[in-house]
């Protein structure tokens, strides 16, 4: 079992756990392995994805560091992502483990960290209302107003033409 780096002791673990959230271990983009959630309790399931293998690229995943063995990252319909899942064994010890994925073919390798904690870390939830509008829908609609003015201009031109014809006695 290849466990990497920082085996956290009790106190350090508590501090790290408090700071951790379920946010991705890497901020997306190419060349990294996203791990969701980045912090998990033993027995929990984990989803990893990467865009490093290109469109339709599969990859071989290695979660043996945390005792979950090999798994497959299959190509998905979403923007060239290869996606795989594995379950952390219930016997896993707290710590930070490196998850590795190797693209099939090219052999490119990407890595992401997974933190195992004994108590599940519940991230803070948001507070208060959300500022999702400024009232821009409430004013007059400039496009519709312009279209209205244009239509009235057409009506005025048509009316003028008809009156002109009538004045000339063209019979209308």
């Amino acid at each position: 079992m290849r466990r990497i780096a920082r085996l956290l002791t009790g106190t350090a673990l508590a501090v790290a756990a408090a700071a951790l959230t379920a946010a991705p271990a890497h901020g997306g983009g190419t060349g990294s392995l996203d791990v969701y959630p980045s912090s998990v309790v033993p027995g929990g399931s984990v989803s990893v994805n990467t865009t490093a293998c290109g469109a339709d690229g599969a990859a071989a995943g290695d979660a043996s560091a945390v005792g979950a063995g090999q798994f497959t990252l299959a190509p998905s319909s979403h923007e060239g992502n290869a996606i795989g899942q594995f379950r952390v064994p219930p016997s896993a010890q707290p710590g930070t483990y490196e998850i590795v994925a190797r693209c099939s073919g090219g052999g490119r390798e990407v890595r992401g960290d997974l933190v195992v904690t004994l108590t599940s870390v519940r991230p803070a939830h948001p507070r208060g209302s959300v500022k999702t509008g400024v009232g821009g829908a409430l004013g007059p609609d400039p496009v519709q107003t312009a279209a209205g003015v244009a239509a009235l201009a057409v009506a005025a031109a048509g009316g003028t033409w008809l009156l002109h014809r009538r004045a000339r006695g063209d019979g209308i």
Partner: protein
């Protein structure tokens, strides 16, 4: 022949006159976003469709709400320094967001999605959210290729002054979803007074 020309011109003129009058009248009146009626508020929690089993965690990529013609990509959102939920960039009115540090939609717990009702230019992605009804469907495309299907339990309006944080954001024992936008009346001085919040729970997946 000339008579036909005159008739056609008279018809065009009449149509243009009516269309112009309607466009001007409609274009210069205000268009407040729809707000939910009291009938869409929370009912008996035992009512409604039973919950589907939770899905493994997977980040969402897209949200679809067919009843109000929403089909929008999702971006990750964090928290502002005051602890409120961030919002998608105002320059991208077609974009919705999800609270990235929280529950992923379909997983057990409360997943949170937010989007603008409007920006300075006009209506945005969740303009019609207040028109959604109980029993409506919300679909979330997830990165693992699955689609989480939620059924609307309630559509509520809450004032910002008295926002029920626990009810909206608090943990849930089943997979639930909140979809949030601005609403609850508008004042020129302080903007929208609160939020429209859609409560939904997972009822299927594919």
């Amino acid at each position: 022949m000339r008579r036909y020309g005159n008739t056609a011109m008279a018809a065009v003129t009449a149509v243009a006159l009516c269309a112009g009058a309607w466009l001007l009248r409609d274009g210069t009146t205000s268009h407040a976003p729809p707000q939910p009626s009291a009938a869409e508020a929370h009912a008996d929690p035992a009512a409604g469709r039973p919950a589907a089993p939770a899905l493994p965690p997977s980040p969402p990529d897209r949200i679809r709400i067919p009843a109000i013609r929403v089909d929008a990509p999702l971006t990750g959102l964090g928290l502002t320094p005051t602890g409120s939920l961030e919002v998608p960039p105002a320059g991208r009115p077609d974009l919705a967001g999800w609270y990235e540090a929280g529950t992923t939609p379909g997983e057990r717990g409360t997943a949170i999605v937010a989007g603008h009702v409007d920006n300075a230019e006009g209506p945005a992605v969740f303009y019609g959210l207040g028109a959604l009804r109980r029993g409506g469907t919300i679909e979330v495309d997830r990165r693992d290729g699955s689609v989480a299907v939620f059924t609307v339990d309630a559509v509520e309006v809450y004032q910002a002054k008295n926002f029920p944080d626990e009810k909206v954001y608090g943990p849930a024992r089943r997979p639930e979803l909140r979809v949030i936008t601005c609403g609850g009346g508008y004042s020129r001085a302080t903007g929208y007074q609160g939020n429209v919040v859609v409560f939904a729970h997972l009822t299927g997946s594919r």
